[in-house]
């Protein structure tokens, strides 16, 4: 008998597991139907089970709107939706834990877009849908939904920024324009000033945007960051750090929080920097004492700097589908949920400021106190666009670092140096070299592994080509996306390449694509390319 019984038991379990896994190995998913003959309407008619994630507050409304879609659409689409609660700020992380089990349609905050694109948790919009988004939404919303030059999501709101709520019984109207006066007023009243500058880069950036600093990230259409222009570590950045220090060093006044419940905490805050989403809550807590206005200015060396902010958006994403019909149906639904009518409805019921240009013009939106405040602040805001996910972790340290410094130029500069070192660590760019960008490194030109070795005036790289049909690439300068050298520059070894590449119509990016598997050495002197097969 011995161990046999135990083994058989174990084996059965193992097999059970392995067989399950085995069943789904070769992904025999229905390939998309590219036929041009079938009209879309009849092709996508059908019943689809759809999982939707939206924030708790929007659950009831979203369910209602989807039911309305089932009635309204003329295409024969029936959506059987399950709507689950998920906050927009965490949706991206959760989706990427397991895309296949994730929602088909989800609300998310724009900072997660690049990550979702890179993690393939979100599908591209088609040409017509993209055009519609570009035509109907405001600038910040389009930027939020775009990475590279590809639109990936439908804008839901365009008011994801922050401004200042204050308690009118404590703060006088004439003080609201000056950070220094506000801190003094809070101190005098024994109240607190809440701004989440210890733990959130989103709020810290306010000071840096005030002095004209930028942190502009460029992502390609695959969600990969290819370049960054960051001037936080600069003379202007130092001025911003001085402003930030005023708040951070006021330790008896400052509270790092964006929770408007601080208005009723003990010690209570008189000021909370937060966004439009908190409007109804602040109203409940403060009642008639609620004030909402744009952020103040801080004064450094006699000059005023009006605090900036991010102008960001909430987006609606569609998960990549294997069934193109379902994908098309979902896109119909997403367009419906983000059209003029439904953005207005969302504004009316939830107070979400629309991204739709027409919807922004209606009086109710224009006169809403939170919208007035955010619009006032938006004059000083920076369009958020795409920012590297790790930037938030890196930049949030500035707050505590500045707060714990001695406030001297050297102390503040050290915080900025720390920041810069971390950015460089994150985004390693050797500005002197050349990189072979291609299928090997997912076309990521920040990937130093495919940096070409410099030898005198020549750059060389050896590439293993396991397959010929799609393995290709081009030579770029780090940080720059455009092809510097490609097929057209090949002088020796043209016969080793796929002849189709000679046709510029088929090779817009001037890529080098090898005709057969093998090992190739690519050498360039900066003007021409030599390719040798081993």
């Amino acid at each position: 008998m011995k161990k046999v019984l135990a083994l058989v038991l174990a084996v059965c379990m193992v097999i059970g597991l392995a067989a399950c896994g085995g069943g789904s190995t070769p992904a025999n998913n229905t390939p998309a139907n590219n036929s041009n003959n079938v009209a879309p309407a009849s092709e996508i008619a059908g019943t689809y089970k759809v999982l939707v994630w939206c924030p708790a507050e929007a659950k009831a409304l979203t369910t209602k709107q989807i039911e309305a879609f089932n009635k309204d659409n003329k295409l024969g689409i029936v959506i059987e939706a399950t709507v689950n609660e998920m906050s927009e700020s965490e949706a991206g992380t959760q989706v990427l834990n397991d895309v296949s089990a994730g929602p088909d349609l989800y609300f998310f905050a724009q900072d997660q877009l690049a990550r979702l694109v890179q993690g393939a948790g979100i599908a591209k919009l088609g040409e017509a849908a993209s055009k519609k988004v570009k035509d109907e939404s405001d600038k910040a919303a389009v930027a939020a939904a775009t990475t590279g030059d590809q639109i990936y999501a439908y804008p839901l709101t365009s008011d994801n920024g922050y401004f200042m709520y204050y308690d009118k019984s404590v703060i006088k109207e004439e003080d609201v324009d000056s950070l220094e006066k506000l801190i003094e007023a809070c101190k005098a009243a024994g109240k607190r000033f809440s701004m989440e500058t210890d733990t959130s880069a989103w709020y810290i950036a306010s000071f840096f945007f005030a002095t004209g600093c930028v942190s502009e990230w460029t992502a390609d259409k695959d969600g990969v960051f290819t370049n960054v222009k960051d001037t936080f570590n600069s003379p202007e950045g130092l001025i911003a750090a001085k402003g930030l220090y005023k708040l951070q060093s006021a330790k008896d006044v400052h509270v790092s929080s964006s929770n408007v419940a601080d208005f009723s905490a003990n010690p209570a805050s008189a000021i909370v920097v937060s966004g439009t989403w908190a409007y109804n809550d602040v109203k409940k807590i403060l009642g008639d004492n609620m004030g909402a206005t744009d952020l103040p200015s801080f004064n450094v060396d006699g000059k005023d700097y009006h605090m900036g902010s991010f102008n960001g958006c909430k987006l609606l994403g569609v998960k990549p589908q294997t069934d193109v019909k379902k994908g098309a149906a979902l896109n119909q639904l997403a367009q419906y949920l983000t059209d003029y009518d439904h953005q207005v409805e969302r504004f009316n019921e939830l107070g979400w400021g629309p991204a739709n240009l027409e919807a922004q013009k209606i009086d109710a939106v224009k006169n809403n106190a939170a919208q007035v405040a955010i619009n006032a602040q938006n004059q000083y805001a920076t369009v958020q666009g795409q920012i590297h996910g790790s930037w938030w972790d890196i930049a949030k340290v500035i707050g505590t670092d500045v707060g714990n410094s001695d406030g001297s130029d050297a102390g503040l500069q050290k915080a900025l140096d720390n920041y810069k070192a971390a950015i460089d660590e994150l985004f390693k760019i050797d500005y002197s070299g050349k990189i072979f960008v291609g299928a090997w490194n997912e076309w990521n030109n920040a990937d130093e592994k495919f940096a070409m070795t410099k030898d005198g005036n020549n750059f060389t790289i050896t590439l293993d080509v396991p397959q010929s049909d799609y393995m290709g690439g081009r030579i770029v300068t780090p940080g720059d996306w455009g092809t510097e050298l490609g097929y057209a520059q090949v002088t020796t070894g043209k016969e080793l390449m796929n002849p189709e590449m000679a046709d510029p119509a088929k090779n817009g990016d001037n890529n080098i694509v090898f005709a057969a598997p093998g090992t190739y050495t690519v050498t360039t002197d900066g003007t021409s390319i030599t390719i040798v097969k081993k």
Binding site: G16, L17, C20, G21, S24, W53, P55, A56, E57, N84, E85, M86, S87, E88, S89, E90, Q94, N97, D98, A101, G102, S258, N259, V260, A261, S264, A265, N266, P267, A268, W277, A278, D281, K284, I285
Partner: protein, 295 residues
């Protein structure tokens, strides 16, 4: 609870004299204990008080509600709370049974049998225990997903996770079994009982404290599990436990409207676990002291 009071005979003599010194030291001890009790209980009292506050739903700077009411408890019924609660209760029960069986099998075997691979096995498990379990989560998720035990079906999946590896936690009950004299087994064996009968008829009845200890700790586990349960249920209310569900109420977009409900939910979660623990405390003490200290 009288036995341990005899451990120090010198105390008895001194006690009879009831010297002034002793009275002072006892007073000091009472003061320390009272302060400790306040510190220990305050957070729980605060949570209970908050759960009865109806004038606002967010965090406030005072403790005693201005208006008392059961609104927060009543409102729980409008959410998925009771669903999560049932899920957790089922998981706790199943885990208590499964984990106890596994742990007892493992610990009894390692305490009573001397077989070839025994030492190797124990050392191997000791080494396995040195790896942080955190990363296993991702792999367990994929395994369970292939068995269709995630999302809405997370309850059986989580039960499996809680039970499957529980054999690793055999130390405490092995320590207990080690203290049960081997002569008992041998006598029964001479009488013709099989090993299985020895376990079932002789050892188990004697092992009541450790069985209850194991059941109790196993039962308490699923109530507090947050990280793994969240990963496996992947935001599907049907598969969530109370820890995951209640935590979602503390996310930035919900905390304002659901904070007092969080407190109410917390109170309801704490009640059964606390009562059970209080009732079975004696066994818990016997369990940990009988086994834990021995490793």
């Amino acid at each position: 609870m009288s036995k341990q009071e005899n451990y120090d005979p010198s105390e008895i003599k001194r006690h009879m004299g009831m010297s002034a010194k002793n009275r002072i030291s006892n007073t000091v001890i009472y003061i320390v204990l009272i302060i400790m009790s306040i510190v220990w209980l305050a957070p729980f009292v605060f949570i209970v008080l908050q759960s009865f506050r109806v004038e606002s739903t967010w965090m406030v700077g005072y403790v005693v509600p201005k208006t008392w009411g059961l609104d927060n408890y009543i409102n729980l019924a409008k959410t998925d709370f009771w669903h999560w609660y049932t899920n957790t209760f089922i998981m706790a029960l199943a885990t208590a049974v499964g984990q106890t069986v596994i742990v007892l099998c493992m610990s009894y075997t390692l305490s009573r049998f001397r077989f070839k691979m025994r030492n190797g096995l124990m050392r191997f498990m000791l080494i396995l225990g040195m790896f942080p379990g955190m990363l296993s989560m991702i792999i367990l998720y994929r395994l369970l997903k292939d068995l269709n035990m995630t999302q809405a079906n997370a309850v059986p999946g989580l039960i499996l996770v809680y039970i499957a590896s529980s054999g690793m936690g055999y130390y405490v009950s092995k320590g207990f079994f080690d203290t049960v004299p081997k002569t008992l087994d041998e006598a029964a064996r001479i009488d013709g009982a099989t090993r299985a009968q020895v376990l079932w008829k002789i050892i188990l009845p004697m092992a009541k404290p450790i069985v209850i200890y194991t059941i109790l700790t196993a039962f308490m586990g699923p109530w507090g599990d947050f990280v793994v349960a969240r990963y496996i249920s992947m935001n599907t209310p049907a598969g969530m436990n109370v820890a995951v569900g209640l935590n979602s109420w503390l996310s930035a977009d919900q905390i304002i409207s659901r904070y007092t409900m969080f407190c109410a939910g917390g109170v309801i979660v704490a009640i059964p676990v606390t009562i059970l623990f209080m009732c079975l405390q004696r066994y818990y003490v016997e369990g940990v002291t009988g086994g834990a200290v021995k490793g």
